[in-house]
Each structure stands twice: as C-alpha cells, then as structure tokens.
C-alpha cells in the first residue's frame, strides 16, 4: 500500500507535466488544426536558453522567466515565419514541416551546446516528505502542481472570460466567419502559437530537472507521452489534456513501479492504440452536430 501511494503521488506529479505539454499541443491544434511535432524541440530550445541564463546569472527564476518568454517569442516566430506559409490543404504538410523543424532545432542545439547531457538543477528539493513510512510529495512536486495548476486556471480564464480568448476560439473554429465578425484571425493564430509554445516551455523547464538533464533530444520521450495524453483526452479539449496527462503519468509510474521501467513506453503506446480504436476523438470529445 505504501508503494502504491508513493507511485500514485509520483505519477500525478509526472502527469501534471504531461498535462502541461499536452495542453500546449491542444492549444495549437485548436488554433491551427496542426499537431505540432516540433513542440518538444521548441521546448528544449527554450530550456537551454533558460538554463544558460541561470548559469550566467546564478538565478534559477531569471532563467525560468527567460524560458517562458523565449517560448512566447519562438512560438510566434515559428507561426509567422514558417507555419503561415505551409499549404494546409493536406494535414500532412504541417506535420512534415514540423518534423523538419525538429531536425533543424536539434541540430542547431547540438552545434551550440554539444550532445552531452548537461545537469539542470531543480529550484526546490526533490526529497519527498515522509508520512510515517510513506514517501509523499517533494517540494519540487508541489511546485510542479502549483505551476501547472496556475497555467490551467489562467488559460481557462483567458478562453472563457476574456474577449481575446473568445476571439481566439472563434478564429480557430471558423476563420472566415470570424473575419466577418471583425476578429483579426492571423493575429489570433500567432497568439495561439505563442501561448502554446510558452506552455510547452514551462513543461520543459519542469521536466528537465527530473530527467537526466538537458540534451537536444531530451523531450522526445516526453513528447510521445504528452501526445498520448492529448489524444486520450481529445485534441480539442483542454480539460481532456489535463486529465489525459494525469492518466498517462499514473500509467507510466505504475507500470514502471510494478513491471519495470523498460515496459513503460510500451504501456503508453498500448494506451494510445486502445483509445484510437475505441474512442478516436478522445475521452472528452464533444458529441457530433445534429442534422435537422
């Protein structure tokens, strides 16, 4: 039972990071109908920028802010300079361009920083609090929950309580109709990419200290888990992304804890296949429109 509790708390903490990353994928999907396969590479690029600042200044928080702001800028740049010019008549075009971006970003990071793992310190202790013999959450886990929870609340408020959020959603659902209503659709698209990349950067900054450290490919496995989380929840559903992230986090941790870490990636892929077969639009997909 102690082990189960420990794994549960650990899984929720990991799941919170997957949730943030899945949220980034959902934001871009909702804005542009593209699965941004470059999200992981973009996040690792901003994590490198953040930790460079941290190493230069000694301030984790300055690096943290640089990473998030860097995500905003990188997301806007990718949309304005690259994705805007992609022919979206076939969904495959965006995917191929995103995969190309992954190769470019990882190549450039390798040239600048090398291909060795670089240590990345956590801002808080990762030692778990003990309750009797049971190891619960660490200070760092609490920080992860707080950071992801804050992002979820802020995004929820943005999309449901502000005119900008309303216009972003409208632009994503029906660009031409939105234009007729005075919505600056291209600006909303850029904002969507910027926000998504910033959320992805946050996820990157949160996950790097819990893994082997910084590496150009550091987010590859995280991306697979987060993509699964987004598909499990439904690519159109921010709530689904959060729940999907927690489900994937728990699954990975339970499988790692009881069956071994080498089996865990397979468990994620099995979950992905099961959801795609049983409910391809995700657990939180909306009902289809009636026709009369």
């Amino acid at each position: 039972m102690d082990r189960f509790l420990y794994l549960t708390f650990d899984g929720l903490s990991r799941g919170a990071v997957y949730a943030a990353f899945a949220l980034a994928l959902v934001l871009i999907w909702r804005a542009a109908r593209i699965v941004n396969f470059a999200q992981g590479a973009m996040a690792v690029a901003t994590a490198y920028a953040g930790y460079s600042v941290t190493n230069a200044t000694g301030s984790y928080w300055l690096g943290f802010i640089v990473a998030i702001v860097g995500g905003l800028v990188l997301g806007a740049l990718v949309e304005r300079v690259v994705m805007r010019f992609v022919d979206h008549s076939s969904p495959l075009n965006g995917v191929v361009v995103a995969l190309g971006l992954v190769l470019i970003i990882q190549g450039v990071l390798g040239m600048i920083y090398g291909n060795e793992f670089r240590p990345a310190e956590a801002p808080f202790s990762r030692d778990a609090f003990q309750l009797g013999d049971v190891a619960l959450l660490s200070r760092y886990d609490l920080f992860v929950f707080a950071a992801v929870g804050t992002v979820v609340v802020l995004l929820t408020l943005l999309f449901t309580r502000t005119s900008t959020g309303l216009r972003m959603r409208a632009a994503a659902f029906a660009p031409d109709v939105s234009r007729l209503l005075g919505v600056p659709v291209s600006g909303m698209l850029t904002l969507g990419w910027a926000l998504a990349a910033a959320v992805g950067s946050l996820a990157g900054m949160l996950v790097v200290p819990t893994e082997l450290g910084l590496h150009p490919n550091a987010m590859d496995l995280l991306f697979i888990s987060a993509f699964t989380a987004a598909v499990v929840g439904g690519l159109d559903s921010p709530v689904g992304a959060v729940v999907g992230g927690l489900i994937v986090g728990l699954l990975l941790t339970y499988v790692s804890g009881y069956l071994g870490a080498t089996v865990a990636p397979m468990a994620v892929l099995i979950l992905l296949v099961v959801v795609l077969l049983g409910r391809p639009d995700g657990l939180f997909s909306r009902a289809k429109a009636r026709t009369a």
């Binding site: 005119s163 309303l166 009636r290």
Partner: protein
C-alpha cells in the same frame, strides 16, 4: 463632401468574373438608410456573389462601392468597424462554443457584455438556449442564433443571406415580423418570394449576373422579364 442623399451603401457598375463565368455584369444598386432592399433571382443569378463583393470575399474586376458617398474597399475583418453585419446561408456558427459565446463574438467594440448578448438572444427568441451548443439545436433555432449574433453588433447595415432557407411557414412569419421591426438598413438575399414581397421597400432582380429589374414589390410582381427569368417563358 458627402451629402444626405449619398448616405448608405451604393454599388456602381460592379462586374465580377470567375474565369470565363460572368458572375455579376454591370450591377448598380443603392441601399439608402432605413430601407429594406431585396435581391432575388434564380439559382446562380449572382446574389451571393453580390454579398461576397460587399464583404470583401470577392473582388470586382470593375466598378466601385461607396459608403456614405466615400469609396469603400471592403475587407472582411473591417466590416463590423463600418457597421456592417452579415448572416450566412449555411448558418456558420462556432460549434465548439455555446450560443451565448457565439453571440458575444458578434459584439462590435469594447468588452463583450453578456447583457447585450442576452438582449439579442431575447429579441430572436432563443435566450433560453444560451448555454447550449449550436450544433445540438434544431436548424431553425440555429438560424435565430445567427440572427442574434448579427444583431448584437447593432449594425447600421445588415446583410441577410437567405435567412428563410430551411424554415417552416410559422418561422418565416416570425422572421418577416423581425425584419419589419428592425431599425436598421437591410439588404436581403432570399428565394422565398412571399417574405421578400412582404418586407422589402425595393427589389433588385438578377439573372445570370445581370440586373433585369429594380423597383417596388408591386413593380417587380408585374414585371414580365422577372416572370420570364423565373418561369423560363413570358408570363
């Protein structure tokens, strides 16, 4: 300098070609403030193209549009800045957003207020559906939501693109009453003749993109060219 008589929307000798197809052929129309002007014609006559020109979705090869006597180069996302709102044939709602949120996106300036949105929904009789998603509503109610989203902007010119399409007789009577009571200029594209004849002050008839008649409902009713265009033979 514009004068009182220049007020409103005017189309001057508009011609639109799509490749070899002449969609609009030298069409002129004046929509004065407060008037309800109908545009009718058989399928493919160019009615929706006319709306698309006014909205900036189609560019004319020749001709000019003026708004209050000044040249007007329409761009879709600037329309509501000029006080022009349009409903769409295919309803065109944001299905992932609630009815209330759909209407809030139609508010022209400043922070969208739920009060204004509810007033528009009350006016079109679907305030009780505010929390519903449009895709789950019957077609007629979705049409009402579409109207509410256009009305919430308090447009000075309202473009209604086949608002009666898919509605039953009772709904069309309700729509006619609503249009009659609108305190705004209306340009109405519609196939439903009874509706057009009952609400319009003036009617333009198009046939294969060419204007064949312009006049009051009574004048249009008695026009032989119009009867021929619709029936394929002189009445």
């Amino acid at each position: 300098m514009s004068t009182r008589t220049d007020q409103g929307l005017s189309l001057h000798h508009i011609t639109v070609r799509f490749g070899g197809l002449l969609a609009l052929d030298d069409v002129s129309l004046r929509v004065s403030p407060g008037r309800v002007v109908g545009v009718i014609g058989p399928n493919g006559a160019g009615k929706t193209t006319l709306f698309n020109v006014i909205c900036g979705f189609a560019a004319p090869q020749s001709g000019e549009i003026t708004l209050d006597g000044k040249p007007f180069k329409p761009r879709p996302h600037h329309l509501n800045r000029h006080g022009i709102a349009r409903t769409l044939q295919g309803v065109g709602q944001f299905n992932g957003m609630t009815v209330l949120e759909n209407v809030l996106t139609g508010i022209r300036t400043g922070k969208p207020t739920e009060k204004a949105a509810y007033e528009a929904l009350e006016r079109t009789g679907v305030a009780d559906q505010a929390a519903a998603y449009p895709a789950m509503l019957p077609y007629a109610k979705r049409k009402r939501v579409e109207l509410a989203r256009a009305l919430v902007a308090r447009p000075r010119i309202l473009l209604l693109d086949e608002p009666a399409g898919g509605l039953d007789a009772e709904e069309i009577d309700w729509l006619a009453e609503l249009i009659r009571n609108l305190d705004t200029t209306v340009l109405l594209v519609e196939h439903h003749m009874d509706l057009v004849m009952s609400v319009c002050d003036e009617i333009l008839v198009l046939d294969f993109g060419k204007p064949i008649a312009l006049g009051s409902p009574d004048e249009i009713r008695g026009n032989e060219k119009v009867a021929e265009a619709y029936l394929g033979t002189a009445a």
